[in-house]
Amino acid sequence: MSNVARFRRVVATGIAAVAAVSMIAGCSSGAPADSNGKVTIELAQWWEPELPKGEFQALIDEFEKENPNITVKLLSGPYASTKEQLFAGSAAGTMSDVVGLDGAWVSDFAKQGSLADLTQLFKDNKYDDSKLASQVQLDGSTYMIPVVNFVYPMFSNDDLLAKAGVTAPPTNRTEFAEAAKKVSALGGDTSGWVLPLSSEAPNGIQNDVMSWVWASGGSMLKKGKPDLTNKDVTSAVEYIKGMWDDGSIAPGSFTQKEQDKVEEFTNGRVGLMIDSLAHINLIRQNNPDLKFSISALPAVDGYEGERGIPYASWGIGVSESSKHKTEAFKLVEFLMSKKINSQLSTMAKAFPGNTESEPDFSDADPLFKEAFDIYKAGKPANEFVGLPVSEDLMRQFDEQFQKTLSGDQSVKAGLEAAQKSWSAEF
């Protein structure tokens, strides 16, 4: 073999080996280093992509201006990606310093020891938590603070209701059932109420079923444990079963998801739905001619107490593995401050997590202002927040609920079966 040929062979072999090694090296990444004595903290959330471009970054810029020694690195992605990223980070102990949280994740993260005890951080940083609208706690310790809340009031199609002879949105269960029945009786493809129960995304159990319990001051828990066979839950399930048997609920419930619900309402095929305020703009955009209004969820006839309104939150927490907890908490404090929380809730068209904050809805749809009044008159209620494997709890309930609606079992048997499967999770 000539020297040239040997050289070529050695080079080719070397290139192949280097290619192999660099492929492996390409799979790993180095940790970012702090520079100029500044502390860099990460904030992983799904909020930035859901807000108008640049607005959330502007708030962060303001924070960095107020805290020149802290740099915030935003890790933004869609909700599902953020969830996966946080679960992976929790497992690997590499969770971002500050994390956007959904109440449904808190129990699992807290059990894994991935979230810092905020109650302790309040004490360490002499923080007054009395202005926080709510806190998600486990065993007396706070792990998540709802930054802004998205409530789920009742939407009613004014035209359909008027056509059915219903002059005002229903305020109690009897009125609601009657209105739904009358709208369904209009015939064609119209139905009174839309109830999404898909087991792929079982949050209909939280927003569209249990909301009936909470609206009348009831509860599905007793001392933090499942209590599904109590009279509040039984009454709500019997009530929905009654509407199902009356044919007042839109067909296709068992595979409908939240987007199907909004689509049915937007297209004017259902008279009533319980939905997030966040969809107001979407409905207006897709059907500008639709006349609709929003109201508080109907309660049991004669109920005078405070009405619970289901909500979803953009929550915030601090990672237990963070090396910069003090700086991380400064960011939490900043986002929960009266002024910034007002700005954030205005941007998100949501309700503030600070009781002193006031969102500015002057440029927004007037329904937001109405909804804010409903919100202030009632109380945010979502008992799934902080429960273990909450999505699976909804799915378990959903399965029994579907069997009950199908007539495969009685309401009592369905609730007992759900109670049994829920109890095994606690």
């Binding site: 799979c27 699992d108 020891g113 129960l197 898909s198 296709g252 399965e399």
Partner: protein
């Protein structure tokens, strides 16, 4: 002659074993100091032996990192009490396998998967064969056949997400199919195809059949076009009817393709996840729960990654049985 120099160069670089042995023998009597010809020869031989490994190493490493390691990890996870969400997992032997195999939901999922898979594969084969024979007919012009081939092949071009959305819209209680049924007086209030527990499994199986038959059709059409005309002519001379020609000429000639396609389709369909998840999510109740959705829910809804790994390993074992048959069949063909 332009080809002579490269051939000569190649010959000079490639040594036969005898030549290598000869050169070794010649080097044996030479000096042994550093940089001596013998040492250079050894290092050259070592490099030569490593060379093929170096060239396949990128692919081999990718296969190890992306396939063998994850599969090994999942198998390992299946023997732990829980992983990922548990920082100190403990070895529990076969406990997870006992739990999964005795779980009623697993039995339901296994039963549904069997019905879904066997029906889909059977229908894919029958429809694929029928359409392939229609497209292979000499009665139509080539242009007409091209048009029909395109139409019949369309479902294969859609991704699963599109197929799911499309059929959700079509089968919706307010969708086109129900509109037709009500308009023709075949139904009073429409049919809840995907939401009715008694119809949902049949509906998702139908969607899967619709989405998958073109693959069979195209493969079988290629097979049909490869059958020599002589065989049919000989059969005609022997007095065989059309039906006899189909059973005794067409099917035996297509058998290798049919077996390969069926085995591959059994593996693919038994692992179908996206279509089920995007149409019914395993519901209503649990009538469309498959092994894939059962495993997904264990992992991403209940965060029981060890149980999900156990379920995945069971699916892997079931698929491997089919894969063994497929590989054996391929070897027998070769």
């Amino acid at each position: 002659m332009t080809s002579a120099p490269p051939v000569a160069a190649a010959a000079s670089e490639r040594s036969t074993p005898a030549e290598v042995g000869g050169s070794r023998a010649r080097r044996a009597g030479s000096g042994l100091g550093p940089g001596s010809p013998r040492r250079r020869g050894r290092s050259s031989n070592g490099l030569r032996r490593l060379e093929p490994y170096a060239f396949i190493s990128p692919t081999a490493i990718l296969m190890i990192v992306l396939m063998l390691v994850p599969i090994g990890m999942v198998i390992g996870y299946s023997f732990m009490n829980n992983v990922i969400t548990n920082h100190n997992p403990k070895f529990v032997g076969l406990d997870n396998y006992v739990d999964v195999l005795t779980d009623e939901r697993f039995h339901t999922a296994l039963g549904n998967t069997l019905i879904f898979t066997l029906t889909s594969v059977g229908a894919h084969l029958v429809l694929g064969l029928v359409f392939a024979m229609l497209l292979n007919t000499p009665l139509l012009s080539n242009a007409s056949k091209a048009v029909f081939r395109t139409i019949y092949f369309l479902p294969w071009l859609f991704t699963v997400a599109i197929v799911a959305v499309l059929w959700r819209l079509l089968l919706n209680p307010n969708g086109v199919i129900n509109y037709v049924l009500v308009t023709l007086g075949l139904s009073d209030n429409g049919v809840e195809f995907l939401a009715d527990p008694s119809l949902a499994l049949a509906a998702v199986t139908f969607i899967n059949i619709w989405a998958g038959y073109p693959f069979f059709m195209i493969s079988l059409l290629a097979g049909l076009q490869g059958i020599p005309r002589d065989l049919y002519e000989a059969a005609t001379v022997d007095g065989a009817s059309r039906w006899q020609q189909f059973w005794n000429v067409t099917i035996p000639q297509l058998r290798p393709i049919i077996i390969s396609m069926c085995l591959l389709d059994l593996i693919w369909t038994s692992q179908q996840f996206a279509l089920i998840w995007m149409t019914t999510g395993g519901g209503p109740i649990n009538v469309t729960e498959m092994l894939s959705t059962f495993t997904y829910k264990l992992a991403f809804s209940r965060y029981e990654f060890s149980m999900a790994s156990t379920s995945a390993v069971i699916v892997l074992l079931l698929s491997m049985i089919l894969a063994v048959f497929y590989v054996r069949h391929q070897r027998a063909r070769d």
